[in-house]
Symmetry: C2
């Protein structure tokens, strides 16, 4: 076979032994308790596909490492929360934790960053890291339906879980981003430092305005080296229509990595599902069978630096803001004057529709400004009686 | 450093020792004859960056292998023409030939296919493999200028060589495609079997019609497993606007790989230039320093299969055809009747402009048909006196 060495499944554990998986499991040792896989002498490599940042998954991985067994895992929550410590234990035990399947499913992005781009100093990594959210945003754009309606539809199709919070509130993307950040910058994982916003507030109106302004709305994870430290943020973004990222639709994921030698590179594919996960898990097995056992992250775990965290308030960028205002004289003067007070410079303004009784949207985009000033401006504006709903803010990412 | 082992430059060879390269070369051993690098005891790995399928490059690589030294090369022509034989010698000598820089520059596509997607059976690999051609086509679309004008401009900017044939006639892309084909299908390289067409015939008129029909014209390399064998072809294609590939502009390259587990994955970045090439060359060095020495291709060279070649005449696809015809009655009947004779089914037809004296364009797109029938149809039509120029045929690649 391809790796020049046989890989044999010897033992298995799952909740329900009798469930029909379309494969005859009778020839493999069965463990009712997954943790006992870690002390099975027939096992050299443990594949952890349980999920969850704690509980059985963590116990199994820790036990496997203590017993000198390699680990292959698809568990992004586990790595995002405990990756640094687990990598240190693994290196001390001279085994590897491989987690290609934990980030962007079938796209070999972990290998690309750890090995393919190893010659580069990385300045930023960003991308569409959650297929469910990308599907919902694509579908909202194409059908002009509201978030809730499309979410229900995604749940019926099996693209979204019964509890969709991890996907649509950005947590899943944040797990993946925390891992990519460590790979990019050689720092310890710091999931708690990720600024996270989801897509529940995105409306078809914003999607339409985005289009008129030359953008697509995408839920992105972005990690960037700035002069204030490392920014890690997951939130909806306005992405220019002339970038390839704007055209990544449905459940697909895409990751962009910028390196000093290589400039911008992009990796795209399915971020989840049985096939892509299996592809990544088996690739890790093949690497281990070939004796190709890299550092867990881009460098030895004990050499990972502490992260200097740039707070979101120090973020500098341009913004899209939508106000819903009463259609009466003076409203726009109020908005302009607040922008002026905080030195926020307007780039474009769009107003659509007129109504004597209902709120009408006023949309503006800004030039670059720090986030603290932007928030202060919105706080001032929303005090005004003519502003009928909380202003909606979406960060613009020009990627140039 | 990142690879956990020092990499030291010890010896160098080039044509002109005194050329200012911005680096002090005096501390390295200098060889006037590059081949003598292969017998320098201070050298463990030879980097061949000479280029060309024969001559000094080939002599150096062969000598290095015979002397038990690893080789890192950016030489796509050498690998495309002699890759199978060189890989066999390297494996016999227990050394590796690494060539990440030979395909798509800084994009780690060789590693992705050989390792990241190792669990998959690949059904097709295709992409934009030549940055110069992609720049010219992007520029022609944006400026509506003719090929010759844009080529001159590309030459002035240093994006095209004084002799642009390798780039614009598809040879460079064909070298890369032949390598990707072997990585994808585990077969011996077969450069001579690549069907190659360049972009000299593409006119701004075709680019405009493409846009009206929902396509971009891109020079693609495509390798596909078909029921007739393996197709390898490099030619201009109509690519649907709703695919990410359509939005890869300027000098960027992109490669799409379809695997059975992973489905479609795409890799994008700069295909050429000092930085991207250095990124790929150094990544190969780091792999070798880490002791990560894979097979040269996806499997041991002696196990690569002979390629069953599918001839271009057996290609099945849909087509864009542009005729330049005299604007008089009966012309369209002639075209329709020929299509009918060869069972070519029309999908759409566009006619633009009227002129009593000049030829006017008639464009049609077809449903799927075999290429032999399509060519026979065009041969019949061009016999007609009202057809003023050879018909222009561009294959449509729907990618669905």
């Amino acid at each position: 076979m391809r790796c020049g060495r046989d890989i044999k499944v010897t033992a298995i554990s799952a909740i329900d032994r009798s469930k029909n998986r379309g494969v005859d499991l009778s020839k493999f040792t069965w463990h009712n308790n997954p943790i006992s896989l870690a002390s099975d002498d027939s096992v050299d490599v443990v594949a952890e596909l349980i999920g969850g940042e704690n509980g059985a998954a963590k116990d199994l991985v820790e036990a496997a490492i203590s017993n000198g067994k390699h680990v292959v895992t698809a568990n992004k929550a586990l790595i995002a929360h405990h990756g640094t410590r687990l990598a240190k234990s693994a290196e001390a035990a001279n085994v590897t934790i491989a987690f290609e399947a934990a980030v962007a499913g079938g796209i070999p992005i972990v290998k690309a960053m750890r090995e393919g781009l190893a010659a580069n100093t990385i300045s930023e990594v960003y991308g569409i890291l959650n297929g469910t959210s990308n599907y919902i945003l694509s579908e909202m754009r194409q059908t002009k339906k509201e978030f809730d309606v499309v979410l229900n539809q995604a749940q019926e199709l099996g693209y979204a879980e019964a509890d969709p919070a991890f996907d649509v509130d950005g947590v899943d993307a944040a797990h993946k981003l925390a891992i990519l950040t460590s790979l990019a910058f050689g720092c310890e994982l710091n999931f708690d430092a990720v600024h996270v916003e989801g897509i529940r507030h995105i409306s078809p109106l914003d999607i339409e305005f985005a289009n008129d302004l030359g953008y697509r709305i995408k839920l992105l994870g972005i990690a960037r080296q700035t002069e204030n430290g490392i920014e890690q943020r997951v939130h909806p973004c306005m992405v220019p229509l002339n970038t390839p990222l704007a055209h990544i639709e449905d459940v697909f994921n895409a990751v962009v990595v910028n390196g000093d030698f290589v400039d911008s590179t992009m990796y795209e594919g399915r971020g989840a599902g049985e096939g892509p996960t299996a592809s990544a898990v088996v690739a890790d097995f093949i690497d281990i069978a070939r004796g190709r056992m890299p550092n867990t992250f881009a460098m030895p775990a004990h050499k990972l630096s502490k992260m200097l965290v740039a707070p979101i308030s120090s973020h500098v960028g341009s913004y899209y803001v939508r106000f819903m205002v009463a259609d009466k004289p003076g409203v726009f003067a109020t908005i302009s004057s607040a922008l002026n007070d905080y030195n926020v410079s307007m780039e474009a303004v769009l107003q659509r529709g007129r109504s004597e009784n209902k709120a009408v949207p006023v949309v503006l985009t800004t030039h670059e400004v720090d986030e603290a000033s932007m928030i202060a401006t919105l706080d001032a504006i929303k005090e005004n009686d003519a502003v009928m709903e909380p202003p909606r803010l979406i960060r613009i990412e020009p990627f140039n």
